[in-house]
């Protein structure tokens, strides 16, 4: 066994700052989902917009600025479940990262 390599390995410190930044990039990407021929990003902005629409059928601009006719209830359900699912996964990984030496 290479002792120098072993010592170097044990002295390496986990980079919490970079790991948190990486998690942010990873989970921002995981918020994407496709619906009704459009691409959407689950999150407070989309959910607030959907809450603000009293009509069931509206036309919204997707991530690529394409107007898409959507059922607000369907999109809201999908966006909310995706957002919560990914936020929970983010929290689990964030806590694991915080415990790293």
């Amino acid at each position: 066994m290479d002792t120098d390599q072993l010592i170097a390995h044990s002295r390496a410190r986990f980079d919490h700052e970079s790991a948190r930044r990486l998690l942010n990039e990873k989970y921002i990407a995981k918020m994407l989902f496709a619906h009704a021929g459009g691409m959407w990003r689950a999150g407070p902005e989309l959910l607030t917009l959907l809450h603000a629409c009293p009509e069931q059928d509206v036309v919204l601009l997707d991530l690529y600025n394409t107007p898409i006719q959507v059922n607000t209830l369907d999109l809201q359900l999908l966006a909310h479940s995706r957002w919560q699912e990914q936020m929970n996964a983010w929290l689990v990984e964030f806590e694991q990262v915080s415990k790293q030496r």
Partner: protein, 265 residues
């Protein structure tokens, strides 16, 4: 409509791109559930792919690979023929050194766009800003990355690849036009210029809705589980640090450590 991945793999004296592509093909099938075609001049490892397209390597230039510490001859110019060569109606072109560790790219296949690629890349370790890679030339033109490209059979996609070919054939002219000091051909620059031409010289074009995670060659990459990788690196103050990537795709710009992983797979 058929959907599949396409990887270009032309080996050189130092790097076994075909072995990398074969390793990547298994990961693409597992995560994205799509068939994989390879464009190569080799007859080895062909069982690893759903389709094998034989082609003569083009654009043999030399490039310095910091992780090998030497100049290596490099065949990168075939990328412009992806539109002609692909057997699929919807194609995901991936670099052989792009590591698929999640189903994230499935979202590019669901997007109703004719062509998508990454506009921005970032350094996984956070040590570099990547400003010199995300922009190019005297006028700091935005650079689009040819590492991952999704395209559908369409007039737009065909024009983009034809324009890339035109840029490649007139490389010196376009280098002068864009104030690009780089004398050797680079796919990312040709793609960026082609997108600029096809989209009518506007800076806003549809792109992949997240940034490309990239690992530069000077860092060490170790696989700790099927979709888990540890990255060992040193800061400018020579502090040894590490981070872990779990279920996250990334571009392994350093071929040497990726080759070690592939060899032990």
């Amino acid at each position: 409509m058929t959907t599949g991945a396409l990887i270009f793999a032309f080996n050189n004296s130092e790097i076994d791109y075909l072995a990398m592509a074969a390793w990547s093909a298994a990961r693409i099938r597992r995560h994205l559930n799509i068939p994989v075609a390879v464009v190569t001049d080799s007859t080895e490892c062909v069982d690893a792919f759903d389709k094998v397209i034989h082609a003569v390597p083009e654009g043999s230039g030399t490039r310095h690979f910091t992780d090998f510490g030497t100049n290596v001859s490099w065949h990168n110019a075939n990328r412009t023929t992806a539109y002609e060569l692909t057997p699929w109606d919807q194609t995901l072109v991936l670099d052989a050194d792009y590591v698929v560790a999640s189903m994230q790219l499935a979202y590019t296949l669901q997007a109703q766009q004719d062509f998508l690629c990454h506009r921005l890349a970032y350094d996984i370790t956070g040590l570099q800003t990547f400003d010199d890679l995300n922009y190019f030339g005297r006028n700091c033109m935005p650079m689009h990355w040819a590492t991952v490209m999704m395209f559908r059979r369409s007039t737009t996609a065909e024009l983009i690849f034809k324009s890339m070919q035109m840029v490649r054939e007139n490389w010196k002219h376009y280098c002068n036009l864009y104030g690009n000091p780089r004398s050797t051909y680079r796919n990312d620059h040709a793609l960026s210029i082609a997108l600029n031409i096809v989209n009518g010289h506007v800076l806003h074009q549809p792109d992949i809705a997240w940034s490309l995670a990239s690992l530069t060659p000077e860092h060490e990459l170790v696989q700790t589980d099927a979709d888990q990788f540890r990255i060992n690196y040193q800061t400018a103050q020579s502090q040894r640090k590490w981070i872990e990537l779990k279920g996250q795709d990334f571009h392994a710009m350093g071929k040497r450590t990726l080759m070690d992983i592939v060899a032990h797979a």
